[in-house]
Amino acid sequence: MSIWGMDRRTWLHRANPVIKLAVLLLLFTMTVLTHDIDFVIYQAVIFTICLVLLCGLKMWKILLFALPFLIAFVSSSSTMMLFGRGETIWWEWGLLRVSEESFYRGLHLGFKGIAFAAEGLLFVTTTSSVDLFYGLMQKLKLAPKFAYSFMASIRLLPMVWEEFLIRRQALQVRGCPPLRGVRGMIKRVGMYAVPLLAQSIRRAHRVAAAMEAEQFNGEHGRGRTYYYESRYSVYDLLIVILLTLAAAAAYMCASWYPWFGIGDVRFD
């Protein structure tokens, strides 16, 4: 678990998770609705900077988390570049056609992905699930049954992983030959899924019974007291201002120092 542990506490850790969630949902919406390539690139750059400064993780961990998103960047943008529609053809070879429009759109798509990743990681790396659900229960009146079932299921994940490792060893001992091809892959998934699911369902049932035995009433949270109080603080205001400023900065940079200056990249 140490890989998820924070290395230092930042403003973002102190902010209320509900506020953080709301702000980041707004940022997500903004990124989705952006069609200007310059704005998206600046968003990607600025939120990545925010991530590095505010997530409280060591650099190598950030790079590790960012790795899948870099792969997504390459795959999504290159697909769009090679197969997207466009009129100004730069290069053509069989099915592959790189046009000016598709090239920019590919780049746009890739950077959009990076911007999403940075925003998402900003939230995920600075919020513990327990804090989030306590916040949601107290501030947004989420029914405790949802909150606690999520928290309980997160606790069960490492056990599933452990069992996965044992299953792998067991298959090796039984002498299961490596299965090749798509069929082999499907068969292999089944060989892991059935026993792991069977164990997990039983385990989940036992946890549920134990929670009920501890007098848990999941239907309504009225009168429920909370061990962690979810409070708003000055950090919430700081975070709102900071992230709004970041978005505004991206917008202004895009209009003052555009890299491409081609405006809307959509194909019409």
């Binding site: 678990m1 327990v130 606690y148 928290m151 309980a152 997160i154 606790r155 490492p158 056990m159 069992e163 044992i166 299953r167 060893q169 067991a170 298959l171 090796q172 001992v173 039984r174 002498g175 299961c176 030959p177 060989m191 026993p195 069977a198 164990q199 385990r203 036992r206 946890v207 549920a208 019974a209 134990a210 929670m211 009920e212 035995a213 501890e214 007098q215 848990f216 009433n217 009168g223 429920r224 007291t225 909370y226 061990y227 962690y228 109080e229």
Partner: protein, 532 residues
């Protein structure tokens, strides 16, 4: 709920006797704090009725132990008594009268599935939140509960995953205490613990049980026997066979206890008597009572089937367990003991080629080469065919849809022809008492059958060495002795067995040599102390 159950009127008459005996016994206390009268309960499906007109009551402050063979419904009865059935777990049931205690708490068997939060304080807080305790009072009550069960932690905010299994069970007991229960239901709380943890959980239970009613289901009973007032013995069909003070029950019903395979104070003596009788009759010599039978004397020019010298098992490039010198001869039965995390399982995984190792490791004279090259891997795989391995949880090692295919698989992987393999598989299943189950799904077998099948899949290839990882863990006496008998048979046929176990009893009673592992190495190899 009750209407779901349709019964025939004459069902009630059959067990009328049991009901009467009960109500007499129940009159000992002033006021029952928990009771149920004429309970009938049936699981959905074609299964027979679990309880027919069962009555149970416990008076305030009484400590009652429920004993019975696996599957007789003891745990189900606890859930009925607490009202969990049918309120939470929807199973059709019916009774003429029931008193559900005003306040009760429950401790379950599995230490890993009783908690919904990641940290100790959060878990305890979950209970306090449910009770609507004010936030300021929480920390104090948590400390009191942890003190009561003797769980000293450096701080409240400790990850539950860093606790040992025994500590987890005491934490479960602490959260049960927060409910300030009048009645405490304990559903095999020590079944999945090592001896150390078992001792501690029962000490904790003892210290908190003063004026509480306790209803306990447990199959390992040495630790609690002296603290219970009444023992109730269930038969395999969910009926009450007898009850009374512990010392009376264990004398009066010894035959039944033996027959149902329930742990009781004389269980090992009975086992030994039965074992020597059996082998005397069937083979003309006794393996258990007269000591070494076959192959145990290595002097006679016999070569070891497994030999280790300066052998190290590595995890993350660091040695986790070191064996300077050790060997197994055909027909050896060796128990590997040691504390949790001492490296017992790592040793087994290393021997099985599942963890990287260094040093000298020979199987039947053939060296096992380590290394990742293709040729080395092939050679290693060839050498390792001499070993069979049985995992702790049988379900995780099943690969087929039917019992027959499960055994066939091992043979086919070994390169046997189909017809030959089918023949052998049938013989093997018959030998392990699984005839008639060929078409069943492995998951549909009972606990004991699953275990036998897992041993069968390893043994059908006729390995010279069998490694077992805690095969008796969490099993009742019947299954435990079933496994041990199986091992004895294999040993007599010349297989060398290396078995990791937590149970000193098993190590002392049935093994011929004990390897003790601690501080990351094989500390000692010795003969069991019990004179047989």
């Amino acid at each position: 709920m009750a209407d779901l159950l349709l019964l025939q009127a004459d069902d009630a008459e059959e067990l009328a006797g049991a009901g009467e005996a009960d109500s007499e016994a129940g009159q000992s206390g002033p006021r029952p704090s928990v009771s149920v009268q004429d309970l009938r309960l049936k699981f959905p499906g074609d299964t027979p009725m679990l309880f027919r007109d069962l009555s149970f009551q416990a008076s305030a402050g009484e400590k009652v132990l429920l004993l019975g063979p696996s599957g007789c419904g003891k745990s189900t009865l606890l859930q009925v008594l607490s009202g969990m059935i049918p309120r939470v777990i929807e199973i059709p049931m019916k009774c003429s009268e029931q008193i559900i205690p005003a306040s009760w708490a429950y401790v379950f068997q599995d230490p890993d599935t009783q908690f919904c939060m990641p940290f100790v304080d959060e878990e305890l807080a979950f209970v306090l939140e449910n009770l609507q305790v004010a936030r300021d009072d929480m920390a104090g009550r948590m400390k009191d509960a942890l003190d009561a069960v003797g769980l000293q932690l450096p701080e409240l905010h400790t990850p539950i995953s860093s606790l040992s299994q025994g500590m987890k069970q005491r934490l479960a007991l602490a959260s049960a205490l927060l409910l300030e229960p009048e009645v405490l239901f304990l559903d095999e709380p020590s079944a999945l613990l090592d001896p150390e943890g078992r001792k501690q959980i029962w000490e904790a239970v003892r210290s908190v049980s003063a004026d509480r009613t306790l209803v306990i289901v447990e199959h390992r009973i040495e630790e609690i026997l002296h603290d219970v007032n009444r023992v109730i013995l269930f038969g395999p069909d969910g009926e009450i066979v007898g009850e009374g003070r512990p010392e009376e029950v264990f004398i009066k019903y010894r035959k039944e206890l033996q027959q149902y395979g329930i742990w009781h104070p004389g269980v090992w003596e009975d086992y030994r008597a039965a074992a020597s009788e059996r082998s005397a009759v069937s083979r003309g010599f006794s393996s258990v009572s007269e000591g070494p039978a076959v192959g145990v004397n290595p002097g006679a020019g016999e070569s070891p089937v497994l030999a280790l010298s300066q052998f190290q098992v590595l995890r993350k490039q660091r040695p986790v367990v070191t064996v300077e010198e050790a060997s197994l001869y055909p027909g050896d039965f060796t128990a590997v003991i040691g504390h949790n995390g001492a490296g017992k399982s790592s040793l087994l995984l290393g021997l099985m080629g599942l963890l990287p190792c260094t040093g000298d490791y020979r199987l039947g004279g053939e060296p096992v080469v380590f290394g990742k090259k293709r040729r080395e891997r092939k050679m290693r795989e060839h050498a390792l065919r001499r070993i069979g391995f049985v995992f702790q949880n049988p379900e995780l090692q099943f690969v087929s849809e039917t019992v027959l295919d499960e055994v066939l698989y091992s043979l086919v992987v070994d390169g046997r022809s189909q017809e030959e393999a089918i023949q052998e598989a049938h013989e093997c299943l018959a030998h392990f008492g699984l005839s008639g189950m060929e078409g069943r799904h492995p998951y549909q077998l009972s606990m004991g059958q699953k275990r036998r099948l897992s041993v069968a899949t390893a043994m059908v290839r006729k390995p010279e060495v069998l490694l077992l990882d805690e095969p008796t863990f969490g099993q009742d006496a019947r299954n435990t002795f079933g496994i041990l008998e199986l091992c004895q048979e294999l040993v007599q046929a010349g297989t060398a067995i290396l078995m990791v176990t937590h149970e000193m009893d098993i190590a002392q009673q049935v093994a011929r040599e004990i390897w003790e592992i601690g501080e990351g190495r094989l500390l000692s190899r010795r003969k069991p102390e019990v004179d047989r």
